[in-house]
């Protein structure tokens, strides 16, 4: 009897504190959550509504609900599928190259004995530079007569006007700019590999390659997967590089570029929004696959488990 009262009292105090904490948390989170919801949630719903309409700004009188007609038009269109596969190719190839190159870069930054600080600083430059600015650099470098790289090509070739060379340059620009980001994420992963383990493996006679393959890589798996997910989704929305480098000529446009052309060039809000929704669904599917297949969980929630 006597002992129970203070306990209840304490419990009430705890729950009161909890409630206060919740209230504070809600107030603290509300603005950020609201902004994100208002600027992405509402527009994406609105995009779905627009995608169900015939809505061309040049023919305001013809606005009408057309059901899934726009989806049928886009999904049966060879230009759309070309853009889709171009985007897939750019994403897969550039992320694959970035992973290998990024790993080498990460190892170099992590293990180098000479000028470590300087190296880590310089590598941030490609990361920080404005994509459009870098793209102009690459464009002029590959333009015949202007560019130092174009000089190396046989006379009369204009790589940015042909499909395969154009895509190769787009991928080069993308890889150059984003590999440092990949490398930094991987470097943080490297830091998680205990030195003792590597030393022990070396004692057991494992070669450098075996140590990397059997010890380092498995321990880095989560870091690699997160880096891959981030870069894959980022690569899939590629726009700036293509806009500047080829402008989508010679079938080098990505899904973002073709959607932009229909939306802002064609002023066709119906078709453009349909593409927007399709891009969104693709990105959602990719994230889902990653999470399902590799069991990645959101970075922020990691803290909870520890």
């Amino acid at each position: 009897m006597i002992t129970r009262a203070p306990a209840r009292h304490a419990r009430r105090r705890i729950s009161e504190e909890k409630a206060a904490q919740r209230r504070l948390a809600l107030w603290l989170c509300a603005p950020a959550a609201l902004v994100m919801l208002l600027v992405t949630g509402w527009p994406i719903l609105y995009a779905v509504l627009l995608s169900l309409q015939r809505y061309d700004l040049r023919f305001p009188g013809e606005r009408a609900w057309v059901g899934l007609d726009n989806y049928a038009a886009v999904l049966t269109d060879p230009f759309w599928w070309n853009a889709f596969w171009v985007t897939v190719v750019i994403t897969v190839v550039s992320v694959a190259i970035e992973l290998v190159l990024g790993m080498l870069l990460a190892l170099a930054m992590y293990r180098t004995l000479v000028g470590r600080g300087a190296i880590r600083t310089l590598v941030l430059i490609p990361y920080g530079i404005v994509t459009v600015v870098a793209a102009y650099g690459w464009r002029y470098a590959w333009t015949p007569e202007t560019g130092w790289l174009a000089e190396a090509l046989p006379a009369g070739s204009a790589p940015l006007t042909e499909k395969v060379p154009g895509l190769a340059i787009i991928i080069l620009a993308e890889v150059w700019k984003t590999t440092p980001f990949m490398a930094l994420l991987l470097m943080a992963g490297l830091a998680l590999v205990p030195d003792d383990l590597l030393k022990a493996a070396a004692m057991d006679g494992a070669s450098a390659w075996q140590r990397f393959w059997h010890v380092t890589l498995p321990l880095m798996r989560p870091a690699i997967l997160v880096a891959l997910l981030f870069r894959t989704l980022d690569a899939f929305r590629i726009f700036d590089n293509i806009y500047v480098l080829t402008g989508g000529a010679a079938d080098t446009g990505s899904v973002s570029l073709i959607a932009y052309r229909n939306l802002i060039g064609g002023l066709n809000l119906g078709i453009g929004s349909t593409m927007s929704v399709l891009v969104f669904l693709t990105v959602a599917a990719i994230s889902f696959l990653f999470i399902r297949a590799f069991g990645i969980s959101a970075p922020g929630t990691q803290g909870e488990r520890r």
């Binding site: 040049r58 079938d251 052309r261 078709i271």
Partner: protein, 401 residues
């Protein structure tokens, strides 16, 4: 004294109402603006805003602002192919009454026609343009009148081991559509029916496509044909690797400046045809008035000044833009800058305008996508594909590449 302008909601620091002109880059347009500002005597002040270099970029900028109902646009420099689109969307004002009379007065028929949509005038023609055949008389003594003839000349020159390329705009952009449009009209047809409502194409289209394909596979074709635009064409000729080019008259001034040595044998002839004289592509620019302008009266007046005979003469002599007012061609200054002026006037008689439709942008985009690269054209199949995609484009239902 200032009451009038203050009521008109002010404007610049000087109190004069500002008229915002949006125009494609033109080196000496400042001279026209200064002249008209002087003549305005304080009634308005034109402020020049420069649009991007390429026509698509210009259109994108204008259309985005017009779609947003932006009141900051007054006088718009419009490509001849945009009239229908902007008029149909209600983004530019019709020209009526005294304004219309002054815009039509003395203006050549073909350029004027590009500013008309559904029987109403929507812009005042500023400059016109026609493509001609430009050739080197040391290589081609007598210019052929047909594409076949040109290909034969190239084959002959190639056999002799002399420069034999014939440069045309074969890149995937408006220039390719311009080429196709002229060929199909030279063959007696059109991309669309004259009312712009339906697809025409058919046999003339197949003839035009067969000619393009034959040219792209002939000795005349430069290997970089699929990436050539007007300026590449000009440079290829100036570099000496070409025997002829199809281009706008700006190439003459450029040749005079860059390769005076070559200018002596640099000649022009009418645009080639299928089996007779061809119908030259028609280009140029007009001034329209934004539907959202807050100063319509001043805007019309400014536009009329910027395209009057004196302004057109300055633009022609200093920037190489062919005038739309007939009398300007007879000015003495024109003789030196425009030795080819009679050829332009002749070509204007039969010049081939591009289809008139509010969805021209869509039609043009899909057409250039289907026609590129020209050596891959298969007349029957390509015609069928064009028919399908242009029909969709006309209703703005299809996807833009």
């Amino acid at each position: 004294m200032l009451a009038g302008t203050v009521a008109g909601c002010g404007g610049g620091s000087t109190g004069r109402p500002v008229v915002n002109l949006y125009n494609a880059p033109q080196e000496n347009i400042g001279a026209l603006v200064d002249r008209c500002n002087r003549l305005a005597g304080g009634r308005y002040r034109i402020v020049l805003n420069t649009l991007p270099r390429d026509a698509d970029g210009q259109r994108e900028q204008l259309v985005r602002r017009l779609a947003a109902g932006d009141t900051g646009l007054d006088v718009l420099g419009l490509d001849v192919t945009w009239t229908a689109e902007l008029a149909e969307a209600g983004w530019i004002r019709p020209w009526t009454g005294e304004h219309e009379r002054r815009a039509r007065e003395g203006t050549l028929a073909k350029p004027l026609e590009t500013a008309v949509w559904k029987g109403r005038l929507y812009a005042a023609p500023y400059n016109t343009n026609v493509q001609l055949l430009w050739y080197r008389s040391d290589l081609i003594p007598r210019p052929p009148r047909t594409w076949d003839g040109l290909m034969r000349e190239s084959a002959r020159l190639a056999a002799q081991g002399r420069p034999h390329y014939g440069e045309v705009t074969g890149a995937r952009y408006e220039g390719l559509v311009v080429w196709f449009n002229s060929l199909i009209q030279s063959a007696g047809g059109g991309i669309l029916t004259p009312d712009g409502e339906r697809v025409s194409l058919g046999a003339p289209a197949r003839t035009a496509l067969a000619t393009m394909r034959a040219f792209a596979r002939s000795r005349a074709a430069d290997p970089s044909l699929p990436s050539m635009r007007e300026d590449d064409v000009r440079l290829a000729m100036e570099s000496g690797r070409a025997a002829f080019q199809i281009n706008w008259p700006f190439v003459y001034a450029s040749m005079a400046a860059n390769r005076p040595g070559m200018l002596r044998t640099f000649r022009w002839a009418p645009y080639p045809g299928i089996d007779g004289p061809g119908r030259a592509p028609l280009g140029g620019g007009n001034f329209g008035i934004s539907a959202y302008t807050e100063r319509p009266r001043e805007s019309y007046e400014a536009a009329l000044c910027l395209r009057d005979a004196e302004s057109q003469k300055i633009a022609a002599v200093r920037d190489g833009l062919p005038p739309t007012i007939r009398s300007v061609y007879d000015e003495p200054e024109m003789a030196k800058a425009y030795p080819m002026r009679q050829a332009i006037l002749d070509a204007l008689q039969t010049a081939a305008p591009r289809p008139k439709t509010p969805t021209y942008q869509n039609v043009s985009t899909v057409t250039s996508a289907v026609l590129s690269p020209p050596d891959a054209i298969e007349p029957a199949r390509t015609e069928a594909r064009l028919r399908e995609l242009i029909s969709e484009a006309l209703q703005s239902k299809g996807v833009l590449p």
